[in-house]
């Protein structure tokens, strides 16, 4: 059986810069920080990090009917708006979406933390389930994003929901890639989402991995920098339309790039520590699947979140798996770590780099950590011919994911 080539034909985003891909790209190319101080978190006992990159407030009533919104917490709302944009961008007709050949694979760390807190707050404090509204469960279930996206867009194909924290979107892209490659589906809406909540940042705070530079929100996180002090959690959703090359050609769709390799390994070492050789193994497997060599890699879009352990492990893994002169940057300095959305939002920006032939630098990277200096860390916007790139995402729990994405020329 011949395998389908898998291309990306649509992009949709809700990000700390606002609604839409355009907002995301403008924010990134302007080098703007989307990080803010969350004043309300000062009241939370033990909370040292008051930083986040939340999605700016907007009126959802103008975006979706009540009957759709009632089952959505912020996380599913973001996913749905991003999915609508991605489907429209790809020019997927209602008939195509409803025809059974299109599916959705959209993950998040959990269902809506806001809804979880409200529901369990009531249940535990009052020992009661009275007055719980009917839509609440649908906001907190693990597949809240993918279910709400399918209901709203009329998608009748396969529905999946990887929930693997910071690799939720990366795994979604990987699964979508496999489903399209194998021919089970012609197209998949793939990506992830997460929302800002004190309990989410609190997870990183508890393990001493959250940035606490509350006095200078506009200067943190700073991946690969000596002064970095941890993660800033962001929110939003990044959704991509993955489609077989044949289907995309048949529809005359715009092609942003091709996914031609997916490395996905567990390190089976430590529940929280990054593991450099496993990161490298993911990249090597992705390159092998794509049939490219390390010399073909023009750029690596790193996962690097701004933790000492993670940044060093990844820089060293890239040097080992690719080579020491490869250009590397992380987008976490711009809009934080969007967790379950990261693989989606960051891939959208990466595709734009391929279109513009420019490498976006790591924001706030001034004083390079010598232990990260084993690769070419990009500090200024760099015009560069880039064709074949790696996208990394890693998660707590030992998940290491890497993609090879290739710019598609007219002669495909």
């Amino acid at each position: 059986m011949s395998m389908n080539r898998v291309v990306i034909t649509g992009r949709g985003a809700v990000s700390p810069y606002g609604l839409g891909v355009q907002q995301l790209l403008e924010g990134v190319w302007q080098g703007r920080s989307a990080v803010k101080v969350m004043e309300a978190w000062r009241q939370i006992s033990g909370m040292k990090s008051l930083l986040a990159a939340p999605v700016p407030p907007f009126d959802a009533k103008n975006k979706l009917p009540r009957a759709r919104r009632r089952s959505m917490g912020p996380v599913a709302l973001y996913a749905t708006l991003a999915a609508q944009e991605a489907a429209a961008d790809a020019g997927l007709s209602e008939a195509f979406l409803a025809g059974g050949e299109v599916g959705a694979v959209i993950g998040s760390t959990t269902g809506s933390p806001e809804a979880l807190a409200a529901l369990y707050g009531h249940y535990l404090l009052d020992n009661s389930i009275e007055a719980i509204k009917a839509g609440e469960f649908f906001k907190i279930m693990g597949h809240s994003c993918s279910a709400n996206v399918c209901m709203t867009l009329g998608i009748t194909g396969e529905q999946w929901a990887p929930t693997s924290a910071c690799t939720s979107a990366a795994q979604a892209l990987g699964l979508g890639y496999l489903l399209v490659q194998s021919g089970r589906q012609q197209a998949m809406l793939c990506g992830g989402a997460d929302e800002t909540h004190a309990s989410v940042t609190g997870v990183f705070d508890v393990v001493r991995a959250a940035s606490c530079r509350n006095e200078t929100p506009g200067a943190t996180p700073s991946p690969f920098d000596l002064k970095r002090d941890g993660v800033v959690c962001g929110a939003g959703s990044g959704i991509l339309v993955l489609e077989s090359l044949d289907s995309a050609r048949q529809r005359g769709a715009r092609i942003y790039g091709e996914i031609c390799g997916f490395g996905h390994v567990n390190d089976s070492e430590h529940i929280a520590h990054p593991h450099s050789s496993s990161m490298a193994r993911a990249m090597v497997r992705a390159m092998a699947e794509a049939g490219v060599s390390s010399a073909d890699i023009d750029y690596v879009n790193a996962h690097a979140t701004g933790t000492e352990q993670g940044d060093r492990a990844e820089a060293q893994a890239i040097a080992q798996a690719v080579h020491g002169s490869v250009a590397v940057s992380s987008l976490k300095g711009h809009f934080g770590h969007t967790l379950g959305a990261a693989g989606g939002l960051e891939t959208i920006v990466l595709l734009e780099m391929l279109l513009r032939q420019e490498i976006v630098p790591t924001l706030h990277l001034e004083d390079i950590d010598p232990d990260c200096h084993c690769v070419d860390l990009v500090q200024h916007l760099r015009p560069r011919a880039i064709k074949t790139v790696i996208k990394n995402n890693f998660a707590l729990g030992g998940v290491n994911a890497a993609f090879i994405i290739r710019r598609v020329e007219d002669d495909v």
């Binding site: 009533k61 009957a67 009632r70 007055a131 719980i132 509204k133 009917a134 839509g135």
Partner: protein, 85 residues
Amino acid sequence: MMSDDELRRKVVEVLAAEFELDPAALVPAATLYDDLDLDSLDAVDMVVVLEKTFGFKLSDEEQLRSIRTMDDLFNFLIELKAKQA
């Protein structure tokens, strides 16, 4: 104690707000499922908001299930209100 008309007005007000409906559509003859486009999940929420609004339980499931129109709902609540007195 609130009058029957006050109760009707209050029901229209809270349901219009809860379900984002035009209060003018909540006429006595309007059917909840067809005219107002509510469904079984909305029926659960309707009970939640009405109990919160009026402070009494709507626990007769059989009677609740028999409610078809806004007028049925008004009469059901008016009857319950009388029982509270």
